[in-house]
Amino acid sequence: MTLAKAITAGLDKILESEAHSVIIGEDIGKLGGVYRITEGLQEKHGAHRVIDSPLGEAGIVGSCVGMALRGHRPMAEIQFDGFVFPAFSQITTQLAKMRTRSEGRIDMPVVIRIPYGGGIGSIEHHSESPEALFVHTAGLRVITPSNANDAYWMIQQAAACQDPVIYLEPKRRYWLKGEVDTETPALDAFKAQVVRPGEDATIVAYGPLVPVALAAADAALEDGRSIEVIDLRSLSPIDFDTITESVQKTGRLILTHEAPTFGGLGGEIAARVTERAFLSLEAPVIRVGGFHMPYPISKVESQYLPDIDKLLEALDRSFAY
């Protein structure tokens, strides 16, 4: 099953088992969404539960807040990463803060699905990685699957969560196929997973870059380096125990994300790992991310995006210490 269809299957299961769940977004009904993630769901569950909204991201997220206040469990689809910003105020000033403002009385079980990341040869605003902005906002949880099985289970775990969850979908991996075990739930959505054990260095990646990190680990093996790869899965909260344990074993850490390095998630992880495992580190923590520029034109995006070679170069730098 592709990662995309795994999300579809997960959403279908949520709608089937939770009567209060509702999906709302642009073009998600008859069309099934621009990426066809909700394909067939309106026909099966009705237009009152799979709602084609007017164009308006603040309206979509704001109405989800209102539905949740009435006891429903809405899931919003934002069409593309770069189009989430009209809803940014609703997400950060309303959704994220409602529970704290109400002194813990009001939960906001809202899921916001956003396809994110580059590498698809698209035009501007269709390839961004805004995760740090949401991670920086207390009250939100942010998760991202990297494979079909996680995609299937993590969307259900997000929907079952009493807190608002930003569910980032790695759009260039929508067509990545993988086994989905519909019987055995995947690991807790808010935990990281060691997806490849290794001894000499750790690469932490998430979403679209997990396959890149795995390929880099394969390539490094040819140089005799055994690389451990961690799929972060949850960007907020971050499972620092899994990362720390790995670094205590390997002594070297490379962090990678498509989002700009400056002010990105890598910096936070580097700082915390330094606090937790300073004496285990054999080299500075190295970050491999995007440059400090708006996401570039697609013809040159390959020079912007972290790839296998950039990860190998970072490993060389780490091992040079």
């Binding site: 909204s53 007017p54 109405s63 009435r70 105020s89 109400s102 002194e103 969560c161």
Partner: protein, 381 residues
């Protein structure tokens, strides 16, 4: 649009109680005032006067350094009391940050309200107890919530016929002002509510000023005319006239709750005081304008009517003043007595489910704070 809706929104400026206190009959809206008896009129006055007294007390508390900020509503009592009294307990209210009068009609405790402004709560009261949402400081951000809430009501009342909805159905009142009328979220929420026939009454108190910017900068046309652009009925009403506001809001709620979609009400009123206690209206508006609005004061108007009709005597006002002072004293006492919750409590409020970072930071915070306690203990020896 059904004939009735066209009729309701084709009445021009609705005024039933004129500024000189005369009550006029209204061909369409009198039908919504049939239960208004002498006692109800006196109660309206009482609600308005108590709200004004509370407002004055809160302003004084702020001036004395006991509140971080206060948002006075003087001048808008009729719009708030009458629209609030038009709702049913099951209806849900989304206020701005100035709806203290509406709060009174929903039995929200004035004392509890001050927890927000005293800086000891982010919300102040439990919105679920009275179906009166927390105040929203980000202008217009509550309006899409109202649309979504109304959409959820529709989901639950899917398949109910009009009569059942009218009898048992619930509606939403979303308050906003002339200032927030220009926000994008106002537009989006009206589109959403209209497209999904959400039972929402958008209640605009046009108090003429958005802090220092006058209404003509917000709109070139009366706000009520925008309703047609969304395909909903629009009613412009004298916001300082309790009876007109009551009748118009009752009609709008009946329309909305019976499944016919949203309504826009523009209540024309005037903010007699400052925007907040941090504001200085002398810098941007003329006292001549304020003087021109003074005689239209909603309390003066109803008082004139009550006196002219012989429904009250001096003793009524004396008693009311005494009750107001007692209420204000109680509110002041409560406000000063509210305990300040420790920061440690906030850690539990951010997320509903276990969160490792919260746990870690809370543990650090408690240990750090405990260090001071030890220190204090040692110093005491």
């Amino acid at each position: 649009m059904p004939r009735k809706a066209a009729e309701a929104s084709d009445q021009g400026f609705i005024q039933i109680l004129t500024p000189d206190g005369q009550r006029h009959s209204h061909e369409f809206y009198d039908a919504y005032l049939q239960d208004v008896d002498d006692q109800m009129l006196r109660d309206f006055y009482r609600d308005m006067a108590l709200t004004r007294r509370f407002d004055a007390e809160a302003t004084a508390l702020q001036r004395q350094g006991q509140l971080c900020l206060w948002v006075p509503l003087r001048g808008q009592e009729a719009a708030q009391i009458a629209s609030g009294r038009a709702t049913r307990p099951g209806d849900y209210i989304f206020p701005t940050y100035r709806e203290h009068g509406v709060a009174l009609t929903r039995d929200v405790s004035f004392s509890e309200m001050l927890r927000l402004f005293r800086g000891i709560s982010g919300g102040g009261w439990d919105p679920r107890e009275n179906n009166f949402h927390m105040y929203t400081m980000v202008l217009a951000a509550q309006l899409p919530h109202a649309a979504g809430y109304g959409m959820a009501v529709n989901l639950e009342q899917h398949g109910w016929d009009e009569a059942r909805r009218a009898a048992e159905g619930e509606a939403v009142v979303a308050y906003f002002g002339d200032g927030s009328s220009t926000e994008g979220e106002t537009h989006e929420s009206m589109v959403f509510a209209a497209s999904f026939n959400a039972p929402v009454v958008f209640f605009c108190q046009n108090n003429q000023w958005a802090i220092s910017v006058p209404f003509e900068v917000q709109s070139k046309v009366p706000l009520v005319t925008r309703a047609a652009g969304y395909g909903m009925p629009g009613i412009q009403v004298d916001g300082n006239d309790v009876l007109a506001v009551l009748a118009a809001t009752r009609w709008a709620l009946e329309h909305a709750r019976s499944g016919k979609g949203p309504v826009l009400i523009e209540a024309i009123t005037y903010r007699l005081g400052a925007h907040t206690t941090a504001d200085d209206p002398t810098k941007y508006r003329k006292s001549a304008e304020e003087e021109a609005w003074d005689p239209k004061d909603p309390l003066t108007r109803l008082e004139t009517h009550l006196r002219d009709a012989g429904l009250v005597d001096d003793a009524f006002f004396e008693q009311l003043a005494a009750d107001g002072d007692a209420m204000a004293a109680r509110v002041r006492e409560d406000a000063m007595a509210f305990p300040v919750p420790p920061l440690a409590e906030v850690f539990d409020q951010v997320y509903a489910e276990a969160h490792p970072l919260i746990k870690e930071e809370l543990a650090w915070h408690l240990e750090y704070e405990a260090g001071f306690a030890d220190q204090a203990g040692n110093e005491g020896k």
